[in-house]
């Protein structure tokens, strides 16, 4: 197709949203800032991580915040050899669904494993926070999860 006929222009669109987080997400983010991981009890006593104000399956109100982790199990993972510009890590890493110890649901975050041959479903990983002075109460307060025992970290 002759691209020359149609004009092109760079178009950058940005919305600088700032969101109020409410009591449950707020408690989780406060925990991250303070170096702790929290879930919330849902229907039938399950523990939901990351926590929501409602049980994602039943829609019921959720209950108490409970501390979970810092370790957990990789339920599934996807290896990114070429990180995209906005990804949390700029070196090859894995996206992973991680079920933290004490939780009944999995949380999405990144695993800094070193290579795709060093990670498998069922592996244990543990949280690696940013330094306390850099934490603001956001998912990015977790730099990555790393294999338990330090391999590849």
């Amino acid at each position: 197709m002759p691209e020359s006929e149609a004009l092109h222009a760079e178009h950058h669109l940005e919305y600088p949203y700032s969101r109020s987080v409410g009591p449950v997400i707020g408690a989780f983010l406060t925990g991250l800032r303070d170096g702790k991981l929290f879930g919330v009890t849902g229907a039938g006593g399950t523990v939901i991580v990351p926590p929501t104000e409602y049980d994602p399956t039943t829609g019921d109100d959720t209950g108490e915040m409970v501390e979970v982790g810092p370790g957990g199990v990789v339920e599934s993972w996807a290896w990114v050899s070429h990180p995209l510009r906005k990804h949390p890590l700029q070196t090859p890493f894995a996206w992973a669904l991680i079920r933290l110890d004490g939780a009944d649901t999995a949380m999405l975050h990144v695993v800094d494993a070193g290579g795709p041959d060093k990670l498998a479903t069922g592996d244990r990983v543990t949280v690696k926070y940013r330094p306390a002075s850099e934490r603001i109460g956001a998912m990015a307060d977790i730099e990555a999860f790393v294999p338990e025992g330090g391999a590849g970290a």
Partner: protein, 358 residues
């Protein structure tokens, strides 16, 4: 039509048209893309915009970063005198559902449904991140391919599929697409060769991903006398439903699709045999999940059009499945067909439409 129809008022797919699916169309704006499609969907049955009582469209402004682009798209129809119109920020399959619901009420007899999307202007990986939970997920910008890869890995780990299965689905789809002149990617490459592709995000190799597509599609729905007037042998919608699951990926079993199963039950899919299925599974592994959720055995041909692995125009790929399924019945290749559409990450929301000829 069988007595098993699950819908109070019979509604037919009276006409279907789609744009030539392409990687990038930079010659036309959205209106110019749509105009020939709408002219064709009316022209097929010799009608004009004055013959439809309602217009419903599906699109998302995020694709071009242009607020309210769906309003401008109405220029493609020419809404003068003023028309009854609605829009969903969803694939056109859901716009079709809205129009079908309105037709069920019996106040109107015909509707135009259309959808369009130009995926070529932006970065889909970033754009689709913005449909995710804005507190826990979107700030990390997880891309759509990576989320699909998590689902594919879970499927492999559950023993439900292998990478070779993904390659076989991709090879079959693109080979079938050779007979679809509107397809974007059509070729005859053996699955074994495809398995030599690099991983984009492991365990998904290049072939297991849908192409990036600019496209548009339209359907005319008709009920009552108009359905008979516009076709000697109408293709009827006998069951129609859509269901959604939680957006919390970690709270779902990504290897199954209970929302599809439930929608199929409500639509009465199991009331009779199915001759063909058009499944909106953008990633190869998702076809395995949907086939199982729909309860289709190995004998049911899937996506003879090539499906979304041959052309994946965002916002239209689901509507096109319904159009292609209807076309299979119209051509006499099938008597009863099922079309499926999906939305959201990892098959979060699913729509099932059962179609039947006379």
């Amino acid at each position: 039509m069988s007595a098993a129809a699950r819908t109070p008022r019979p509604v037919s797919i009276a006409s279907f048209a789609q744009m030539q699916n392409v990687r990038k169309d930079d010659e036309h704006n959205e209106v110019e893309m749509l105009m020939p499609v709408i002219a064709e969907v009316f022209g097929n049955i010799g009608i004009t915009k004055d013959d439809v009582d309602f217009i419903c469209s599906g699109s998302t402004d995020y694709l071009i970063g242009g607020p309210f682009s769906f309003v401008m798209a109405l220029d493609a129809v020419g809404v003068w005198p003023p028309r009854s119109e609605s829009h969903v920020e969803m694939d056109g399959a859901w716009a079709l559902y809205e129009a079908w619901v309105l037709l069920q009420e019996g106040e109107i007899d015909a509707a135009l449904v259309y959808s369009f999307g130009r995926s070529s202007l932006g970065d889909l990986n970033e754009i689709l991140s913005l449909q995710l939970d804005p507190y826990y997920l979107a700030p990390m910008w997880p891309d759509t391919v990576s989320l699909a890869a998590l689902q594919a890995r879970a499927l492999i780990d559950a023993g439900k599929a292998t990478e070779a299965d993904f390659a076989a689905i991709a090879a079959r789809s693109r080979k079938d697409a050779l007979s679809n002149p509107k397809a974007q990617v059509a070729n005859d490459i053996p699955a074994e060769t495809l398995l030599e592709d690099e991983y984009v995000v492991s365990p998904l190799r290049r072939h297991a991903l849908p192409p990036i597509t600019d496209g548009a599609a339209a359907i005319v729905l008709a009920a009552g006398d108009k359905a008979r007037q516009w076709s000697d042998k109408p293709v009827w919608i006998t069951g129609f439903d859509h269901r959604i699951e939680t957006h919390s990926l970690g709270a779902r079993d990504l290897t199954s699709s209970p929302s599809t199963t439930r929608a199929a039950e409500v639509a009465g899919l199991a009331d009779g045999p199915v001759d063909v299925a058009e499944i909106h599974a953008p990633y190869a592994h998702q076809e395995i999940i949907i086939r199982e959720a729909l309860g289709l055995d190995e004998t049911v041909p899937i996506n003879p059009s090539g499906g979304p692995l041959a052309a994946n125009p965002l916002m239209s790929a689901g509507l096109i499945r319904i159009g292609e399924a209807a076309a299979s019945i119209k051509s006499g290749k099938a008597k009863r067909a099922v079309a499926h559409a999906t939305s959201g990450p990892c098959l979060q929301q699913n729509l099932v439409c059962v179609l039947e000829g006379e």
